[in-house]
């Protein structure tokens, strides 16, 4: 904040004045009552309608003279004083912002592309624990592949474990397709989310995102692919996901950060690296 310009003393003179307001009037109430009684007579007795009619007519006349020839007014006295308009919010020292932007972004962040790269490498890394799972549990690396492919082949729904342990070319192709597509998609999603949590990519990618993803799948898989749901081993699933996430986060961390528009608003000395840093926030009290 630059030196606050002290332009003190624009005291507003105390005005003692009156404000013209419409005068209170009973006729709207009477007219409403008249109409209501007019209608109530339809469900009770015609005498009530008659009373309603009389009230209505009287109210219309009364209302007419409220408006004509001149609208009735009352002058309400006003005493003006001085009111302080202040904010309880701290005016904190902000990063200097450029003219078009007022939001505060991190100075640097990752680009979307780094998320995709992470997704591809993470997808490759994920194959290891998945294959390990098949080997250890069913002594076949093709088990996990076929299980993934089963989502695409209806006839495999009731296939035996032995069948799933064999090598099937169409299974390998389908699984590779599904796996590649999902990996890139997750990488893209992650890359899009990165500017929101730019600080610790390995943590978010490695643990938070896989757990979230697994949680969503856990609740939805029963509907999407019952075959997979019946046979899936969630412990190994989470391990594969975390392997994916850790590698993905690691790859992202290797990428070069890009500068947000906020960076351009920094003073030249900071941008040129002469000054180390500006205090990002300085909340004094709240």
């Amino acid at each position: 904040m630059q030196e606050g310009q002290s332009t003190q003393g624009h005291e507003h003179e105390h005005r003692s004045d009156t404000v013209i307001l419409p005068a209170p009037t009973p006729w709207p109430l009477v007219l409403a009552l008249g109409l209501a009684l007019l209608i109530t007579g339809m469900v009770t007795h015609w005498v009530i309608s008659l009373l309603g009619l009389l009230l209505t007519l009287r109210a219309i006349v009364g209302w007419f003279f409220d408006i004509f020839p001149h609208e009735l007014h009352v002058a309400v006295p006003v005493q003006t004083g001085v009111m302080k308009i202040s904010s309880t919010r701290t005016t904190r020292e902000q990063l200097p912002v450029s003219a078009e932007h007022r939001q505060i972004l991190p100075v640097e962040t990752f680009s979307v592309v780094s998320g995709i790269k992470g997704g591809i490498v993470g997808g490759l890394a994920m194959i290891v624990p998945a294959a390990l799972f098949g080997l250890l549990k069913y002594h076949s690396i093709w088990y996990a592949v076929n299980l993934l492919a089963a989502g695409g082949f209806v006839s495999w729904a009731s296939a035996s474990t032995a069948f799933l342990c064999q090598f099937h070319l169409e299974g390998l192709l389908a699984a590779t397709g599904i796996h590649a597509f999902t990996s890139v998609l997750i990488g893209l999603l992650y890359g899009a989310m990165l500017p929101m949590f730019p600080r610790k990519p390995i943590l978010t990618a490695g643990f938070v995102a896989p757990l979230l993803w697994t949680g969503i799948l856990y609740s939805a898989l029963g509907i999407i692919s019952p075959v997979l749901n019946a046979r899936i081993n969630w412990l190994w699933f989470v391990i594969s996901q975390i392997a994916f996430g850790l590698v993905c986060g690691f790859i992202v961390n290797l990428q070069v950060k890009v500068r947000t528009p906020q960076f351009r608003a920094l003073p030249f000395a900071v941008r040129a690296g002469l000054h180390s840093d500006v205090p990002l926030t300085k909340d004094e009290d709240l």
């Binding site: 606050g4 310009q5 002290s6 332009t7 003190q8 624009h10 507003h12 020839p69 005016t91 004094e284």
Partner: protein, 203 residues
């Protein structure tokens, strides 16, 4: 800790760039009323069209209805005169205002009289009432709803005419008279629709 003390950037009653002009509330209010009333009429018109030819018994519209050409001409031309009344009031030509108002009221009354005559004919000679069949039900309610609006308009116009004759209507009331004329134009426009639906389409 910085202390910023500064006066308002907002001029409390300073000049605004362009003169601050808002529409007259009477016109806007009447426009709103017209929208609401149009919705009511649309429902009645829809009911009328929906029930064309669905009556289980006679008489049918083709048998009993005749084109009310004279009444229609009277009502539609009254729109012109109420407009003339407003414009002459703006020019402070009070005699012309009174005259035009009187013609408007007269034409409106003639229209109402033709409707009354038609209804008398239908009820008395043809035996068509609201209870007779679906045509009677929809015809009397649609035309009756319009006639109610004509009556309300006529009462207000006559009142204005009375005050005009007493010399109490002045130039400063021209905005209010314009609001009333808007209503009257609306009533006329509705008649065009009612005429087309009941007497042209419905026959």
């Amino acid at each position: 800790m910085t202390t910023i003390t500064t006066a308002s950037r907002i001029p409390i009653d300073g000049p605004v760039e362009t003169p601050w002009k808002l529409p007259y509330r009477g016109n806007v209010g009447m426009a709103c009323l017209i929208i609401a009333e149009s919705a009511i009429f649309i429902i009645f018109v829809v009911a009328y069209i929906y029930y064309i030819g669905k009556s289980l018994s006679g008489p049918t519209p083709a048998q009993v209805l005749e084109l009310p050409i004279f009444g229609t001409i009277c009502l539609l031309s009254s729109s012109i005169f109420v407009h003339l009344a407003v414009s002459s009031l703006r020019k402070e030509n009070y005699r012309a205002t009174t005259l035009h108002l009187a013609i408007t009221v007269l034409l409106g009354t003639i229209f109402l009289a033709t409707t009354a005559k038609e209804w008398y004919h239908l009820i008395h000679d043809e035996g068509l009432t609201i209870k007779t069949n679906l045509f009677g039900t929809t015809y009397y309610s649609l035309v009756g709803l319009h006639a109610t609006h004509v009556v309300v308009g006529l009462i207000m116009l006559s009142l204005t005419l009375a005050f005009s004759l007493a010399g109490r209507v002045k130039e400063e009331h021209s905005e209010k008279l314009e609001v009333l004329s808007l209503y009257w134009h609306f009533v006329d426009a509705v008649w065009v629709v009612v005429f087309l639906v009941v007497y042209v389409l419905g026959r």
